[in-house]
Every structure is written in C-alpha cells, then in structure tokens.
C-alpha cells in the first residue's frame, strides 16, 4: 500500500497523467483496459509476470466527514467467500474467486479473467472507530463503511458576527 504518495495534493495531476499514459499503453497492447482483477497482466497474453503485478482486487479509499469508505471490485465473488476483518486501523480483505471447472470437451477460446484466492491489507487513518464497520456486497462491488471516531469528525460551528 502506497497511500502516502497519493496524499500529496500537488502530485494528483501527475498521477492522472500517468493513468492516462498507462491506459493508452494498454490499449495499444490489446483489448483489455486495465481494471480490476489482474486484467492488466492478462491484457498481453504470455507475458504474465511482467505486467502482472496485481495481487488482489482494485481498491478505492475515500474519506468523508463522518466515515471512511473502502470500495473493492470483486466481480464473481460470493458473499460467503469473502472474509473481512479490522485490527486496529488495518482492514484485511481476504477472499476467493471461484471459477467452475470447464467440463470435458469445452474449449477455452479466451480467458482474461482471473480466479483464485486473494488477500489485501489496507492501512486506514487512525481516526477510525473499528467497532462501527458496515460491509455490503452489490453488483460485484464490496463497499465497506468505517465510521470515524467522534472527536475526529469535522465539526462546523456557526459563529455569529456581532
């Protein structure tokens, strides 16, 4: 997790530029624009390892006024195959993406998707309240809402001008 790099506000434009560049590069390599599950590695068949640096689902972390939201792309993962835990300010996401064995006689024409087990640990700001966590799986996206501690919430106080 390289969160610190993205926290610097003056580096945001640079990251966008790199994202754009990466996307164009991936398009020139093949069909799949890099997103989610190991699609980056799969975009160029036969060179897994070179571009295949993905070790788990893609994740977004957004800090709101009252909570921290973690979003993960987990298409094809069932609720019962996900394991989520919070220890201190570390959120651990483990799971398994199953793919049914192709019956005999079926030919695979193309495989860009990925199956297997994954695990990611996410460092969250230490303002979180680990007792107030809510997780919801919908349309292949896992949303985890972690409340911030009362004292860490942004409060606005109205000041009247006399």
């Amino acid at each position: 997790m390289d969160q610190s790099r993205r926290e610097r506000s003056n580096s945001i434009d640079l990251w966008n530029a790199i994202d754009e560049l990466r996307e164009e590069l991936e398009h020139s390599f093949g069909d799949v624009a890099g997103y989610g599950f190991a699609a980056r590695g799969a975009a160029v068949p036969g060179v897994a390892g070179l571009l295949d640096w993905q070790t788990g689902p893609s994740i977004d972390i957004v800090e709101g006024d009252e909570e921290i939201l973690v979003l993960a792309d987990v298409p094809g993962v069932r609720k019962q195959d996900l394991d989520l835990s919070v220890t201190g300010n570390v959120l651990a996401l483990k799971g398994e993406k199953r793919q049914e064995e192709a019956p005999k006689g079926r030919k695979t024409l193309r495989k860009e998707t990925w199956a297997g087990s994954f695990s990611r640990t996410i460092n969250l700001p230490n303002t979180i309240n680990p007792d107030k966590v809510e997780a919801l799986l919908k349309d292949g996206i896992l949303r985890v809402r972690i409340a911030k501690r009362e004292e860490a919430r942004k409060k606005s106080v109205q000041i009247s001008v006399k």
């Binding site: 997790m1 969160q3 993205r6 926290e7 434009d13 990251w15 966008n16 530029a17 754009e20 069909d31 799949v32 624009a33 890099g34 997103y35 989610g36 599950f37 699609a39 799969a42 893609s58 994740i59 977004d60 972390i61 957004v62 800090e63 709101g64 006024d65 921290i68 939201l69 979003l71 993960a72 792309d73 987990v74 298409p75 094809g76 993962v77 069932r78 793919q99 192709a102 019956p103 006689g105 079926r106 030919k107 695979t108 024409l109 193309r110 495989k111 860009e112 998707t113 990925w114 996410i122 700001p125 799986l137 919908k138 349309d139 292949g140 996206i141």
Partner: protein
C-alpha cells in the same frame, strides 16, 4: 490533461471476458462490477453483438486516499459468425458478472454419419 477534459467521444472500459465453447453453445462470461440489470444493454445487429454496461453506483464524495478503480461504463463488441442462432442468446447477471449463452444453429453442429 486538457485532452481528457475536451475529448468529446465517450470513453469505455473493455471488460475482461472468459469465453468457452462446445459443439452446442458458446458461453461468455463478462466482468462488469457496478452494473445492475437496469444498466445492461445487449444488442445484436447483423454480425455484431454489443454489450453496454452503464454503472449505477454513485461517485463517492470526500478526500480520495487511494484510487485504483476505474469508474467508466463498459462496452464490449463481439463479431459473431453465421453459426450462432440469433434468437437463441440468453443472458444472466450475477455478482457483477454477465453470463451469455449463445446457441449454435442446428445446421452448424457437426453431424455424425453412421457407416452402414
């Protein structure tokens, strides 16, 4: 950066696919996290099968601490040949994965010829 801002054509993510076939049908699995039934549009036009997935999830508001996911709508275009029965395409969406079942026309299936 300006280029991205002014680009007029809509940008899509090409979703990852898993395609298998046997004599009777072709199965296509397409990963489109964030797309619900309502956001799905599957069209067959001649030899072209187009799958459009519009995301229904909202952009979260706040300070981004990490951003790896791509929030773009999906589009995948397949060219299908004459052996596919245009009327025999069925689809099923579960857990962000769309599963398409394309039936092969009876006439295109291999026939076993008995030797008398």
């Amino acid at each position: 950066m300006d280029k991205a801002m002014t680009r007029t054509d809509r940008r899509f993510v090409v979703p990852a696919c898993h395609i298998t076939e046997d004599e009777a049908e072709v199965l296509v699995g397409i990963e489109m996290p964030g797309v619900s039934r309502e956001g799905l549009d599957i069209k067959v036009d001649g030899n072209t099968l187009t799958i459009d997935g519009t995301r229904s999830d909202e952009e979260p508001q706040g300070k981004w601490l990490l951003r790896e996911r791509r929030r773009l709508d999906y589009r995948k275009v397949f060219t299908i040949d004459e052996s596919i029965d245009r009327e025999g395409i069925s689809a099923e969406l579960a857990e962000g994965v769309l599963n398409l079942r394309l039936k092969v026309k009876e006439a295109a299936k291999p026939r076993r010829i008995a030797i008398g």
